[in-house]
Amino acid sequence: MAQQKTLEINMGPQHPSTHGVLRVKLELDGETVVKAEPVVGYLHTGIEKTMESKLYYKALPCTDRMDYLSPMSNNLAYCLAVEKLMDIEVPEKVKWARVCLAELTRLNSHLVWLGTHALDLGAMSMLLYTFREREQIIDIYEACGGQRMMTSYIRIGGLAHELPRDFDKRVREIIKTFPEKMHDYEDLLTLNQIFINRTKDVAVISAEDAINWSLSGPMLRGSGVKHDIRKANPYSGYENFDFEIPVGEKGDAYDRYKQRLEEMRQSLRICQQAIDGMPEGPYRAHVPGVVLPPKEDVLHKMESMIFHFKIITEGFTSPRGQVYQAIEAPKGELGFFISSDGTNRPNRVRVRPPSFINLASLPALVEGRLLADVVCAIGTIDIVLGEVDR
């Protein structure tokens, strides 16, 4: 008599623990997962195709909406790629301001990760604490760009407006009050026996496997590979900053938790150096015909107004060629590959999505483990469905 041994279950698109619309097809034998297959595409937006039909400048707000937890990182990656294509050199102040904002974005993203990961594992109060901390950073975003999340503040050739007058004060406030809040988080979770039981030796991946699966970011560093694009191929002035790269040992979820907490501390260190040493200067490069002139000039000088009009309506012509620029986003290696055919619209914009490629390794992490480990694995990979599906 044939007996069906495995049970097929659908962990559907609408689920409280899947961080969005992710579907996982599970085949279970009792509580053990025999096969896990993630199905994505429920948030596919066609952002790459939309960006192909717009001018370089106007395609910038589309990049905010991909990884919506760290919008400034996406803007930064796109702007660096276009600046590489057009061979634009930005002033020093812009580089330092971008570094400061990118590190604040890393804090933002890791806070949401911590809140939702702990929520999935049962510690609900972490979500309330981290979202309270996040409000301070969002206040800075609102002061800079006018919007709480999708600011599009980092533009091609510089920043959208001058930094706000109390930027210095606000960032110093965060640097002062944050470490004791992090101490609170550590108190709640690090030596908590329930948390340790749920995350130690769960979702383990070795260093060779991590390189073979093309993982990046905290997933790769948690397994012991010391690779960070900010140190390996520095961009936007990161070579002037002094920070360390935390590396895990075993590659399980607990190691990645500790590693991300340490990354948050290093981000604060970089912010401190950026604020202390911020140089004076213009907030935009002066490349007539490519970079928009500052608004004060547009209202008073004739050629600035003409350039402004031309850039907004027709854009600038780019040289033929293909560039790739990668940055260390909070989720991993975020890269923009822009292929240009000599006109004012990009021929192909490809986003190298860290969450998509990290998610592909989910079967390797959970097969042979218990059902509750699937939730922990999805949380520790730190996916954002907007980036997975684009």
Binding site: G41, T50, S53, S214, H227, R348, R390
Partner: protein, 174 residues
């Protein structure tokens, strides 16, 4: 020897005619290669202990429809983004495929991460990877026919309704 020269040495000495050209736009080394030789080249690069190229960062594709001189060389271009963690060096392998037969060998037996990347390229651009264990749609819904990222697939932009065009909204195809 710099990394660029080492890579060029290795590939040219083992696969002389398959390396069709080289480019150095904005300090990025790109090697234009014959699509038949992609698998063997990647195998040689992975096996070489000096170069330590074991990280496949990305597989992507470009559609050159509409640009006449590029379509003559082959309408589709598949680009492999390879990285060496020890030497911190990145380079690209670019292969051209003709329009009527866009097939290239899959790299899933060398790199596990190539599985989903190739599925996405197949889904959005229509390039067939020979030897892939599960080449199916991954991002677009099952009802959508065609490959959206090709340049002749319309954007399906809907004209918004205002008071002067309140009747059925026509689709403007761009």
């Amino acid at each position: 020897m710099s990394m660029a020269e080492q890579v060029r040495e290795l590939l040219k000495s083992r696969f002389g005619e398959a390396v069709l050209g080289e480019d150095d736009f904005r300090d990025q080394q790109s090697l234009y290669i014959d699509p038949e030789a992609v698998f063997d080249m990647c195998q040689a690069l992975v096996a070489d202990a000096d170069l330590d190229v074991k990280y496949l960062a990305d597989i992507t594709s470009v559609d050159w429809y509409g640009v006449e001189e590029e379509v003559r060389k082959g309408r589709f271009e598949v680009i492999y983004n390879l990285y060496s963690i020890r030497h911190k060096y990145r380079f690209f392998l670019k292969a051209r495929l003709p329009e009527d037969k866009p097939e290239i060998q899959s790299l899933t037996s060398l790199f596990n991460g190539a599985g989903w990347m190739e599925r996405e390229v197949f889904d959005l651009m229509g390039i067939i990877f020979v030897g892939h264990p599960n080449l199916t749609k991954i991002l677009t819904p099952d009802e959508l026919e065609g490959h959206p990222l090709r340049r002749d697939f319309p954007l399906t932009f809907e004209v918004p309704q205002f008071s002067w065009n309140k009747d059925d909204p026509p689709e403007v195809i761009r």
